[in-house]
């Protein structure tokens, strides 16, 4: 079987959609109220060194995914143990995102439809995408990102009539410790979640730089989120922003143009369909590749369906209410830290030390024959 390859453009689009994914619907840095945009900017700044670590790992371990990296660095036993943790993390994250969307659909439109059906249909779509391979997902992302950008631009322009710029004032009134806390939460969800791309970017074309893919992807996703957060703040104001679920939906639902053009909130549902679908598919893809590597299976495609079923079943039972879902975000910032920061940093440190020892050995070996000659 030929190895799947994605181009730099496709990788950038997938990462941007992944970052934008559920965060656009659930809302980021809402706790910081009118300073949410500031918290988001700080989170993007924090994300720069974090994604440098991810990029460096991809450069050090060429053509390897995150599971190969752990197994070659920490040995079979510890490597596979950490890999299993990452598989569970990918499955858990996928189920959380699926549940975000089913909750959103139930709250916004299909209030009498059991969430099981929404989850099942999203799941079937993701199974089809992952079974088709990462190349198909890459090509889809190229189209998807254009639609998402158009939706963000259109909804932002449409809301110009109801924007009140004074909603952003007073700046930094929440205090810097609070803003920093919120920006850490925004870093863990969604920016550092891109750690899962360590399992995807091994399929990047050889000439393409993983640094570029990461920086442009997270940058584009961050920029779109920034526009959305600014729009929500200008339209709703800090107090309201801090007290509602699904702020993007609310802020676009109050747009009425010329007394006859309304219901723009359905565009937010389209965002969900495009970006969220990519995010769930990436989680599923990484989980399947991990299972295929850890258990030495023949092909990752053969286990897409059971892994997806497990993910979707988890999504059905993970929360009991929308409130519980939003409360979980506080726990999530701590729960995700080992996967997003501690393990990658540990891996990078060990890999750099190994690389240095290897270089020193090679230099010594090169020096010896020269000395013998003289």
């Amino acid at each position: 079987m030929n190895k799947e390859m994605i181009s730099l453009k496709q990788a950038v689009c997938i990462i941007a959609l992944f970052v934008f994914g559920s965060s656009a619907i659930v809302g980021v840095s809402g706790e910081a109220k009118q300073d949410g945009w500031l918290a988001l900017l700080i989170a993007i700044a924090f994300a720069v060194p974090v994604i440098f670590i991810y990029g460096r790992l991809l450069v050090l371990f060429k053509d390897m995914d995150i599971f190969d990296m752990f197994i070659t660095t920490f040995g079979k036993f510890f490597g596979k143990a950490i890999s299993i943790l990452y598989i569970l993390y990918a499955i858990h994250l996928g189920s959380l995102v699926t549940r975000n969307f089913s909750e959103f659909i139930q709250v916004s439109t299909l209030d009498h439809t059991p969430q099981f059906f929404t989850i099942a249909f999203i799941g079937l779509l993701c199974i089809l995408a992952v079974k088709s391979g990462i190349e198909v997902l890459g090509r889809w992302s190229l189209i998807g990102i254009v639609i998402v950008i158009l939706i963000v631009v259109i909804t932002s322009l449409m809301s110009m009539s109801i924007i009140r710029f004074e909603h952003i004032l007073p700046i930094a009134s929440q205090g810097f410790s609070k803003i920093l806390g919120v920006s850490y939460g925004t870093l863990t969800f969604p920016f550092a979640e891109s750690v899962l791309f360590l399992g995807v970017l091994s399929t990047l074309k050889p000439k393409a730089s993983p640094y570029k893919a990461y920086y442009f992807g997270v940058g584009l996703g961050g920029l779109l989120l920034f526009i959305v957060v600014l729009r929500n703040t200008f339209v709703l104001g800090g107090e309201l922003l801090g007290n509602i679920y699904f702020p993007s939906y609310i802020s676009t639902s109050i747009i009425i143009l010329g007394n006859f053009l309304s219901r723009f909130e359905e565009l937010i549902g389209a965002n969900l369909l495009i970006a969220g679908f990519v995010k769930i598919s990436i989680c599923l893809y990484v989980a399947c590749v991990g299972i295929y590597k850890v258990f030495n299976l023949k092909n990752y495609r053969s286990i897409v369906v059971p892994t997806a079923l497990f993910m979707l079943t988890l999504a059905c039972i993970i929360y009991k209410s929308t409130m519980e879902m939003f409360n979980w975000l506080k726990i999530y910032s701590i729960y995700a830290a080992p996967f997003e920061f501690i393990f990658p940093i540990l891996l990078l440190v060990v890999a750099e030390i190994k690389e240095k020892i290897k270089k020193n050995k090679e230099e010594k070996e090169n020096e010896l024959p020269e000395e013998e000659l003289t």
């Binding site: 059991p114 099981f116 059906f117 099942a120 079937l124 299972i291 258990f295 030495n296 299976l297 023949k298 092909n299 053969s302 286990i303 369906v305 059971p306 892994t307 079923l309 497990f310 979707l312 079943t313 988890l314 059905c316 039972i317 993970i318 929360y319 009991k320 519980e324 409360n327 979980w328 506080k330 726990i331 701590i334 729960y335």
Partner: protein
Amino acid sequence: MENIIFCSIIYFFFVIFDLKPLAKNKDFKAFWFYTVLLILTYAVHILIGIGVDIPSPAEPIAKGIGALFNVRS
């Protein structure tokens, strides 16, 4: 009840069109992995369908982290 019927139809199609070929190709590792997860998830869906309250795995995680870091969910 509609959950159980819908779920059974989907699972039936997966068994026929996805699981059966694995056995035919003698990919037994994947076959057993598939079968175990299929039975497990189907059982959970049946339980949900008949109204059993299944505890969420997020609860012990939240409790553990809450106790360790003094965070309230």
